[in-house]
């Protein structure tokens, strides 16, 4: 029994996962006191916007791509979807700028920055495929304009912005999956490495007496 357990892929994956992210690190109930600025709100605001985008987008997808053109309710959900996208990008840009000025890649956190940056770059075509899937004048104009840039570097050969069917598939399935996977990886890396401490004062801060720490502190960080 123990021999087969030793060789079990499942057990190995579980042990690696728990080692990398013990429950108290994955879902901490405390965080360092330096996490005290409005700028920290924009990370969670980005995720919250993504949830609203996926929720409103799912309703639009359930009813089909033409529904929002001829019903008031459909148009309302399209408006929620569009404004959630605007909020998503706004929150993400402020979050990225904040993390840049914090040098948030310090302490072995390069992958945290990189997954965040790639998420932004993947979100751009995710939004673009939405704009060209609208089936209105904006879709006509944006697709006929966007094609030239994509064609000029050969991307148009396999990613045709004037092909509604292909763009709709990318928009409602393939690219959202990519964004969600990237955001998940980003959040898990943040949980694993913890929120980056303030610049230059790490050593001095560590010399300061620690106050009573919650479970996360005992695990070596705020996740």
């Amino acid at each position: 029994m123990s021999g087969s357990t030793d060789r079990s892929w499942t057990v190995k994956v579980r042990e690696k996962a728990v080692e990398a992210l013990p429950p108290e690190k994955l879902l901490p109930d405390g965080q360092p006191t330096y996490v005290a600025s409005w700028i920290y709100m924009f990370g969670v605001a980005s995720i919250a916007s993504l949830v609203v985008i996926i929720g409103s987008g799912s309703i639009l997808a359930l009813k089909g791509p033409a529904w929002w053109h001829y019903t008031g309710v459909g148009h309302f959900f399209n408006s929620i979807h569009m404004w959630a996208v605007e909020l998503f990008f706004f929150a993400m840009v402020v979050h990225l700028w904040g993390k840049y000025w914090m040098s948030a890649w310090r302490g072995g956190r390069a992958r945290v920055w990189m997954t965040g940056a790639i998420t932004f770059l993947v979100a751009v075509p995710t939004a673009l495929t939405g704009y060209v899937s609208q089936q209105n004048f904006d879709a006509q104009w944006i697709s006929t304009q966007a094609k030239d840039g994509l064609n000029s570097v050969g991307v148009g050969a396999f990613f045709n912005v004037t092909n509604f069917g292909q763009m709709y598939s990318y928009h409602v399935l393939l690219l959202p999956i990519a964004v969600v996977v990237l955001v998940s990886a980003h959040v898990l890396l943040v949980r694993r490495h913890g929120v980056v401490p303030p610049i230059e004062l790490e050593a001095r801060l560590q010399a300061a007496p620690a106050v009573e720490a919650p479970a996360a502190a005992a695990a070596g960080g705020a996740g």
């Binding site: 600025s37 609203v52 000025w101 104009w141 064609n151 001095r204 300061a208 620690a210 106050v211 960080g221």
Partner: protein
């Protein structure tokens, strides 16, 4: 130590902690953002200008429609001379020795004369004059076909140039106000006038919209052919200019109405506003390559000397962590 996992220069945090409810924070954030999105949706709605159709184009701008169709037939339209991925009539754009557009090849083949003119006209039933004109055109040598097409297109191009320059329009092109049909006075045009008149009639009836979407199967989702045909003409441009969506006005990052559009594309659109990109025939590939390099640099900021060091040199981080720096100051000076 590897490139992606550099040496840890930040020791594990051993300082003070504060209570934190991650799940509650996320739920509140979703509620607030959801409410904000609903309020914005109620207050500002979202744009939905109806799409243009080939039928509308042929009715509103009949001369422009016929001129565009003539250039599709004689192979001088934007799409006809585009090159990959639509045809082999051009090399496409390049940057130095990099010919990505050419190298990726023709994946969405478009023969503008056949796809936009001849094939749709062949679907028109019970029109012996048109069938004779098509037979004459298709039987003629390519050189003759081109000569007919160019002879027909010339007065139309002169008309368009005069209109753009605000000069009096030549009398070689006229539109019947009752029928909306276009007459072009030109010699040596062979069967082209008959073909163009029939194409305009087909377009005005809405038949060309359906014809351009027709392929080997019943269900259609690919609008490449009708969109490129319309983009060769002037209707989309006209509507875009009215809505301030032109390339010289930051182009596709905007959308109709006073909506924010794709503001995150500002840097991409910015390069088109300045030289050397603005006047370059290869502007698209140059802008895309610049954005590719910048995107790669953006991802790799943690490894780029100078860019990664800037935050340490500017005191913005002191503003972000000001509460903490203030909180620890008495301890460190004690």
């Amino acid at each position: 130590m590897s490139l992606l996992r550099p040496k840890d220069d930040t020791k594990p945090w051993a300082g003070a902690y504060q209570p934190y409810d991650l799940v509650k924070e996320l739920c509140i954030a979703i509620g607030v953002i959801g409410l904000l999105a609903v309020v914005l949706a109620v207050l500002f709605s979202s744009p939905d200008d109806k799409p243009s159709t080939v039928a509308q184009w042929s009715r509103q701008l009949p001369v422009d429609f016929v001129k565009t169709a003539a250039t599709e037939l004689d192979g001088t339209s934007g799409t006809a001379e585009y090159g990959p991925p639509y045809n082999h009539n051009g090399e496409g754009q390049h940057a130095a020795f990099i010919y990505l557009q050419k190298w990726l090849g023709v994946s969405h083949p478009i023969d503008t004369a056949a796809d936009y003119v001849i094939d749709p006209l062949e679907t028109v039933p019970n029109d012996p004059a048109l069938q004779r004109a098509l037979a004459e055109y298709q039987a003629a040598p390519e050189k003759t076909q081109k000569a007919w097409g160019e002879a027909y297109a010339k007065p139309l191009e002169e008309d368009a140039e005069a209109e753009e320059a605000g000069k009096p329009l030549p009398k070689t092109v006229s539109v019947d106000p009752t029928t909306g049909m276009v007459s072009v006075q030109a010699s040596g045009t062979g069967p082209v006038p008959t073909m163009m008149t029939s194409l305009l009639s087909l377009a005005r009836s809405g038949g060309l919209d359906g014809s351009l979407l027709t392929s080997k199967q019943f269900f259609q989702t690919d609008y490449t052919k009708p969109l490129l045909f319309m983009a060769d003409g002037g209707l989309l441009d006209k509507r875009a200019e009215e809505q301030h969506l032109g390339g010289d006005e930051w182009g596709m990052m905007n959308e109709t109405g006073s909506y924010p559009g794709q503001a995150w594309l500002w840097l991409y659109a910015f390069w088109y506003q300045i030289e050397p990109f603005k006047a370059s025939e290869n502007a698209d590939v140059l802008v895309m390559l610049v954005m590719g390099v910048l995107s790669l640099a953006f991802i790799c900021i943690p490894f780029i000397p100078g860019v990664r060091d800037l935050p340490r040199k500017l005191p913005i981080y002191k503003l972000i962590w000001r509460e903490h720096y203030r909180a620890i100051r008495p301890r460190s000076s004690a």
